[in-house]
């Protein structure tokens, strides 16, 4: 044994020197950065975040009331990790992957401390079907078999991306196993299991990144038509309180065409998470007809739960997302809200007495945000599948002011920007996405997909809608000064068409059973019908029809009901016919 080893073991145990809120300083341990440590007699979980001479600073994931200087600190020598394997889906975790239902069982309705709970059910047996044979060469990333995690959802068992998993299969078994039992062995002795551990702050490996060219379909008209997001893309939804961030995030979690959803409630309201917990098991995935909860992993670290665990929660979620991506799934990760995560960083940073950057946020805010979003993407996995992680981050700017550091640093990385507007929310125009300030940089790369898969005129019609909306904005400024009656007839018609686009197309009721999800085809036909009116009315106007009679046409108002109707095709055809009949009268 070398001298170093003796010192190592001695320095695993230290003592608390100072406690200030969630930040504890210890002496006597020699830990590495981000090592997991157990703090105090109750063995509270913590993570090393600063080393200064003899003193090691630790952020503690649990309440530190009553801790005393002199109590024991123990270094585990391992970084904060999550346990990955079958059983993640349909779970609800706190920020450090402790299952909340298990915590309820162990300590009642309130979150108390010092409780350890594994992230996966260790007893449950899974039916494992191997897909490699004895003697076959394998390497990190090889799929060695599968488990049906949820009805219809195959969980592929992949060799962890670590060098010791290169070799030949020496033994592999089929049958029922729990996540810890050996299912086989490699010739170098490496044991195979259904589960693996992965440190949350280290991105999982993949072969290479791909272009984002497939849209992330959300069933929300304003998103899919005007500001589309790509699979593997990054979007931000910033908005002040009450503008509908959470409703938008939840709607996306419900209806988007991802295979797996990881929803992180980061520093938000407890009742909101409860709502998700109540609603998701009852809702059905529109594509598979199975409960939405079966494809969802929830991470709930509400605003009053320990702030350090909030900081960790986004990494916990991202690692789980990467794990499913590696199986070749399209994963969507929703973080509500990244501002609370940034604030957790700020809180810890100020306890460390670090020199602050803008508005008290640590100077590394931009780096951390960029690193996080960069873990999104569509990739070739190690097992030669194509998987993706689409990240949608809610941002809660103080006072709804987008010039603050979190929003600005987020905008520098993301490609789709859905700007929420309190003025729209006040008029109960939902989703309150401002169509003039929002943007999507994926529009061009996704064009081909929409034209090939939805309809030839998609791009052209979307552009026409946008043109009307932009024209409306200009005209409204004039209306503010002179009133709408003073405008020329042509412009009055433009205002009317823009109103129809806003009310009949952009507004979407997330709480209406039909309108909550809009098929691509329905979007296409709705746009077509509105623009049909627009073209015909403009024509009629040129041929001398009166503007009032065009605005007061009864048939066009019935387009308003289409949103709420399941059998929209028949109705739309009828409306078109009615409109044409009315237009004929003007000729």
């Amino acid at each position: 044994m070398r001298d170093g080893d003796i010192i190592m073991s001695k320095e695993k145990i230290g003592r608390i020197y100072r406690i200030a809120g969630p930040v504890v300083t210890a002496t006597g341990i020699s830990a590495r950065m981000y090592d997991l440590v157990k703090v105090g007699n109750e063995k509270l979980m913590g993570e090393v975040i600063q080393i200064q001479g003899e003193k090691t600073t630790i952020q503690v994931y649990e309440d530190t009331s009553g801790l005393k200087p002199g109590e024991v600190v123990e270094n585990t020598g391992e970084p904060l990790s999550v346990l990955l394997g079958p059983g993640l889906l349909d779970s609800i975790y706190d920020g450090i992957q402790r299952p909340l239902p298990v915590l309820t069982k162990q300590m009642g309705e309130y979150i108390k401390r010092g409780v350890e709970a594994p992230g996966l059910n260790l007893e449950k047996k899974w039916e494992f079907k191997p897909s490699v044979n004895k003697g076959e060469s394998v390497k990190p990333g090889t799929i060695i078999g599968e488990v049906e995690e949820m009805p219809g959802l195959i969980h592929k068992i992949i060799l962890p991306p670590l060098p010791e998993y290169t070799g030949k299969v020496a033994e592999i078994k089929a049958g029922k196993f729990n996540v810890e039992e050996p299912i086989g062995k490699l010739d170098n002795g490496a044991e195979l299991k259904l589960s693996q551990k992965w440190p949350v702050r280290t991105p999982r490996k993949f072969t290479n990144k791909l272009q984002a060219e497939v849209p992330f379909i959300t069933g929300q008209r304003i998103f899919d038509a005007l500001f589309p997001l790509a699979k593997g893309g990054m979007a931000a939804i910033p908005g002040g309180f009450g503008t509908g961030k959470t409703v938008a995030q939840q709607t996306l979690a419900k209806w988007s065409d991802a295979d797996i959803i990881v929803y992180i409630g980061c520093g938000e309201r407890g009742n909101e998470m409860t709502e998700v917990l109540k609603e998701f098991p009852e809702l059905k995935d529109p594509r598979t007809g199975r409960p939405l909860m079966n494809r969802t992993v929830l991470i709930a670290n509400t605003s009053n739960m320990p702030v350090a665990a909030r900081e960790a929660s986004v990494y916990t979620g991202m690692t789980i997302a990467e794990y499913y991506r590696d199986m070749g799934y399209n994963v969507a990760l929703m973080a509500d809200s990244t501002s609370r995560w940034a604030e957790a960083m700020r809180e810890i940073s100020s306890r460390l007495e670090e020199m602050p950057g803008e508005e008290g946020y640590p100077a590394y805010l931009a780096t951390r945000l960029a690193e996080f979003y960069e873990r999104a993407g569509r990739v070739n996995t190690l097992s030669k599948e194509i998987g993706s992680i689409t990240v949608i981050g809610a941002v809660s700017p103080p006072g709804g002011d987008f010039s603050e550091p979190v929003t600005q640093n987020t905008l520098r990385v993301i490609k789709t920007f859905w700007a929420l507007d309190p003025r729209l929310a006040q008029r109960r125009h939902f989703p309150a996405i401002n169509w003039l300030t929002s943007y999507s940089l994926y529009k061009d790369t996704l064009e081909n997909w929409f034209v090939d898969n939805v309809g030839a005129r998609w791009v052209e019609m979307v552009n026409e809608l946008m043109a009307y909306l932009q024209e409306e904005e200009k005209l409204l400024e004039i209306v503010q000064l002179v009133g709408s009656d003073a405008l020329p007839a042509k412009q009055q018609l433009t205002l009317e068409i823009a109103r129809m686009i806003r009310e009949f197309f952009l507004q979407q009721n997330a709480f209406h059973e039909v309108d909550t999800y809009c098929q691509m085809d329905k979007m296409y036909m709705l746009m077509e019908t509105i623009l049909h009116y627009a073209n015909q009315a403009n024509l009629a106007l040129d041929q001398g029809a009166g503007i009032q009679s065009l605005i007061n046409m009864e048939s066009k108002e019935t387009i308003a009901n289409i949103k709420f109707i399941k059998d929209y095709k028949k109705e739309l055809a009828k409306i078109k016919l009615d409109m044409d009949r009315e237009f004929d009268k003007f000729r």
């Binding site: 009553g66 005393k68 309180f241 009742n271 509400t302 605003s303 702030v307």
Partner: protein, 456 residues
């Protein structure tokens, strides 16, 4: 035997720094004995082998280095709770100030309170009828919600809070709410106003009052809401009561928080408020709700005054991000002599949809609310236009909308301080107003509801 120390090295604002102590627990309660024999209480904010920082609740006046004794009690702050607390008036630190005896404790509870496991929470979904139209119809309150009132100085937020406390009920269930009233730094006069109303209406018998007045120490304010919520949790979750907690004024609370932060020389966040204010406020607001398997509930109505009526000020801003909506008062409406001056446009109740509908209020409730919002918003916009172009330049529809906005304020928003409108009456006024508009313009309402209610 607990040791007493005479090792104070520094006194700054509400903080004292002591050294050469044995190991002292974080957040522990501290007793400080002054040279004149008087006793103050405090709490450990920072502890290490070298220095312990203590926040003194009653202010540091009279504390010196040589003759002040500090005793660490080795326990966190606890409140004596009992069902007999109802009807009592306590200080901001939980001591009786109504001349009655000490509360005989059934339990001693830690006032910090732990976070409710989100998995154990029950979704709030029971409609509370406050009898105030703008709240019931447009920003519905439900049991277990936290819905703050964003007010300004000089606006009648206290009257509204009292009216809610008086009138709140769940239709069909006549069990009255228990009221926990926590005052933080309000004036004696305001406190008197509340007390008088509680006494007159008999509400005091089912209330617990925690009073920290403007003249009381500022740092005590930091524990007052936690005391109140500890009492609320006890009554709600151990005695199955429905508790309505009124906290006023959170602005004073946040000022105290800033004061402590400054005394500790912390790096401040926005406008000098500490960076952890969001988390700190969350540990107050998130203590509302309902729990699976428990019959009681905690509904919170925090009141805060917005500095310069600015809703983007850190206090209302952070509050709005935690609470489930907000009721915003408007100076403009107040000037027009409209009570309650609730501006529905920036107001919001996030849990409204869960608490309304055919079985809870009425089938048309949601759509009536949406339509009222839309019309009023348009009408308000038009007022700006009229100021420039005059009413004659408006279209017929716009003239109607303008009239609608005026009538809405006069008939729907305005009501008496003791006028208790039931939900049917409130929706009825809504329909009366909507009849001012042509039926076809009410696009947010389903045709069948229009047939049922518009034509009658």
């Amino acid at each position: 035997m607990l040791k007493e120390y005479r090792t104070i090295t520094k006194v700054a604002g509400p903080l004292i720094f002591t050294e050469k102590t044995d190991a002292v627990g974080y957040a522990d309660l501290v007793q400080i004995k002054l040279s004149d024999g008087s006793i103050k209480m405090g709490q450990v904010l920072d502890t290490s082998e070298d220095i312990v920082v203590v926040q003194v609740f009653e202010g540091t006046r009279g504390i010196d280095r040589k003759n002040t004794w500090v005793k660490f009690l080795g326990d966190t702050i606890k409140l004596n709770v009992s069902k007999n607390m109802l009807g009592r008036i306590l200080s901001g630190a939980g001591k009786p100030i109504d001349g009655g005896p000490e509360v005989i404790p059934e339990k001693k509870l830690d006032i910090t309170g732990a976070a409710i496991n989100p998995y154990s929470r029950k979704s709030p979904a029971e409609f509370i009828q406050t009898g105030i139209s703008t709240i019931d119809a447009c920003n519905t309150l439900v049991r277990g919600q936290k819905l703050p009132i964003f007010s300004g100085s000089g606006l009648p937020h206290n009257e509204i809070a009292l009216q809610i406390a008086r009138q709140a009920k769940v239709p069909g269930k006549e069990q009255a709410f228990a009221v926990i009233f926590a005052a933080m730094g309000i004036t004696n006069e305001e406190a008197q106003y509340f007390m008088k109303d509680f006494e007159q209406t008999g509400a005091l018998q089912r209330a617990v009052v925690f009073l920290n007045l403007a003249s009381d120490p500022a740092s005590e304010r930091l524990i007052t809401p936690r005391m109140a919520l500890t009492a609320a949790e006890y009554l709600a979750f151990e005695h199955d009561m429905h508790v309505l907690v009124i906290l006023t004024d959170l602005t004073n609370y946040c000022e105290s928080l800033r004061e402590i932060g400054a005394a500790r020389e912390e790096i401040p966040g926005r406008r000098g408020y500490p960076g952890y204010m969001y988390t700190d406020l969350a540990t107050i607001y998130e203590r509302a709700g309902m729990i699976h398997g428990k019959n009681g509930s905690i509904t919170q109505i925090p009141i805060l005054t917005m500095m310069g009526d600015d809703i983007t000020h850190p206090i209302p801003d952070l509050t709005g991000y935690i609470t489930e909506g907000q009721i915003v008062l408007s100076r403009e409406l107040h000037r027009k002599n409209i009570y309650p001056p609730i501006d529905i446009l920036p107001s919001l109740s996030r849990l409204m949809n869960a608490g309304i509908g055919p079985t809870k209020t009425r089938e048309d409730h949601k759509q009536v609310s949406d339509q009222l919002y839309a019309n009023y918003a348009e009408g308000r916009d038009l007022r700006g236009l009229v100021a420039i172009v005059g009413e004659e330049a408006l279209s017929d529809k716009d003239k109607k909308l303008l009239k609608f906005a005026d009538e809405f304020e006069k008939r729907f928003v305005r009501q008496g301080k003791h006028e208790d409108r039931d939900i049917k009456g409130t929706l009825g006024i809504g329909w009366d107003l909507m009849r001012m508009m042509p039926k076809k313009d009410l696009i947010r309402i389903k045709p069948e509801f229009k047939d049922k209610y518009y034509d009658k």
